[in-house]
């Protein structure tokens, strides 16, 4: 059985036997809510994230997540997802990150699973609180499109508060993620500076907050800000970034969708050679991210 078949079989098994998942209807693109999915509920999500512009050359990447979430109880839900990436990069070489130009079509590359437990319900308690634990396995480096085995575990806390009978919603998240990654060798590149193949460990921390306001039946506008930082074995704090931007959300009885556009306001850590805008982190991040989510309630 080759690698593709093995991964496909694993994914199908995960979807069939591990109906674990994420977070129900998302009012914002990145910051998740604390509302539990009710017992027996089954929802399907399709999420596309476009990452573009590293300030030099051409860089355009799309991440795809196709996810099923199931409510095991009125407080406990789980999800399973298949993930994929496409990467188009030209005119920019970054040692250790973008070793060569690449054109990779949207390709199935990994799986995710997550469990979520809701301690407090926002509509019942003064504030909603939930915790999530997830693992994901990926075989493609989402930055370069090169082969890279990545195993991550993440722990998250979600807060949610209703105002104005639920017309205005505040959301806040804190996430901690640890990652073990090993890059596959690239033919013709033997320099460890250009493409290190030794295993590495990373720890990432993310904090986000946002507001969503329903301005008409079914329609909400929102805004959120996301701070992320990452620490790595070799260099300590490798990067940090602050993104912010608006969201537009539509939801009805059967499906919902959310469109979010984020710009990087500030960033730091490593920079690539001759990077013109040194106030941004543009090695692992881009200047702009656009996220589009669709959710279907069975």
């Amino acid at each position: 059985m080759n690698k593709t078949h093995l991964l496909s079989a694993t994914l199908l098994s995960a979807l069939a036997y591990l109906p674990t998942a994420q977070a129900g209807e998302n009012l914002l693109g990145y910051t998740k809510g604390a509302e539990p999915l009710p017992k027996g509920a089954l929802e399907l999500y399709q999420i596309f994230t476009q990452r573009s512009d590293k300030g030099q050359g051409t860089y355009d990447a799309i991440d795809s997540t196709t996810e099923l979430e199931y409510g095991f109880s009125n407080r406990f839900s789980g999800s399973a997802a298949i993930i994929g990436h496409s990467v188009e990069t030209k005119g920019l070489i970054i040692g250790g990150y973008l070793p060569q130009e690449k054109s990779l079509g949207l390709t199935l590359s990994g799986i995710e699973a997550q469990l979520k437990y809701s301690f407090l319900t926002p509509a019942l308690n003064d504030i909603g609180l939930s915790a999530s634990f997830g693992i994901d396995y990926d075989t493609i480096d989402q930055h370069s499109g090169q082969d890279k085995d990545t195993l991550s575990a993440n722990l998250g806390l979600q807060l949610q508060k209703y105002f104005m009978d639920g017309q205005l919603v505040w959301l806040g998240n804190a996430d901690l993620e640890t990652t073990h990654a090993t890059r596959d060798p690239i033919e013709g590149i033997d320099d460890e500076e250009e493409w290190p193949t030794k295993p590495e460990m990373e720890v990432g921390i993310g904090i986000s907050t946002g507001l969503s306001y329903r301005f008409a039946p079914n329609w909400s506008i929102g805004a959120e800000a996301i701070y992320e930082t990452e620490y790595e074995t070799e260099v300590g704090q490798e990067r940090w970034s602050l993104f912010a931007g608006p969201s537009l959300h539509y939801g009805n009885k059967h499906f919902w969708s959310t469109l979010t556009v984020l710009g990087q306001l500030s960033g730091g850590g490593e920079t690539y050679e001759n990077q013109s805008d040194t106030n941004l982190h543009l090695i692992e991040k881009t200047k702009q991210e656009v996220k589009f989510k669709l959710g279907y309630n069975f």
């Binding site: 593709t4 509920a41 399709q46 009125n74 019942l124 209703y162 079914n218 939801g251």
Partner: protein, 178 residues
């Protein structure tokens, strides 16, 4: 690995089911459901000024969102049987429309859900849940998970309908009490 872009589009294609809502009852149907023996309904829409809305909020601790509250008087053979009031509260996606029957002395006779378009919680329209409001008056706590049970997946809807009834009982005290 082989590009499988078309596979990723399958879920998008699946999410094309057109949305529709359920209108359970028209105004006339709700009137007949709450006052089956009534022979006449007299329109008596209530225009609320700021101080009246403040008074309602002061009594119920719930904001009176509407400046006009649609109300009718129900009569049976010329005898005043009670108030029929239509109200809207916020659901997760859309407004939930319901009708409340209040006795002349300000007690809940019954409640009917007229329009509910949310993903979960269709149980709010079931008699088992609605009967919890019967007999409620200004002394009743009307608190979710105390005297009114919650419906999982529709907590916001349950809370706002419960608060809506509490607010209409306060409206009775401010505007309708003889």
């Amino acid at each position: 690995m082989k590009s499988i872009f078309p596979l990723f589009m399958l879920p998008v294609a699946a999410i094309t089911c057109p949305a529709y809502g359920i209108q359970y009852l028209s105004v006339e149907q709700a009137q007949m459901a709450l006052y089956p023996s009534a022979s006449q309904f007299t329109e008596n829409f209530l225009e609320l000024n700021e101080s009246q809305r403040d008074a309602i909020e002061s009594i119920s601790d719930i904001r009176q969102r509407w400046k006009t509250q649609k109300a009718w008087k129900a009569y049976e053979n010329g005898a005043f049987k009670g108030w029929f009031i239509i109200d809207k509260v916020i659901g997760k996606h859309e407004f939930i429309t319901y009708a409340l029957a209040l006795s002349p002395s300000g007690e809940v006779i019954s409640i009917e859900i007229m329009d509910y378009r949310e993903t979960y919680g269709g149980e709010v329209n079931e008699a088992d849940w609605r009967k919890n409001f019967i007999g409620a008056n200004k002394q009743s706590p009307l608190e979710l998970e105390e005297d009114i049970p919650n419906i999982s997946g529709a907590t916001l809807s349950c809370r706002n309908v419960t608060n809506g009834v509490k607010r209409l009982l306060a409206l009775y005290e401010v505007m309708l009490k003889p």
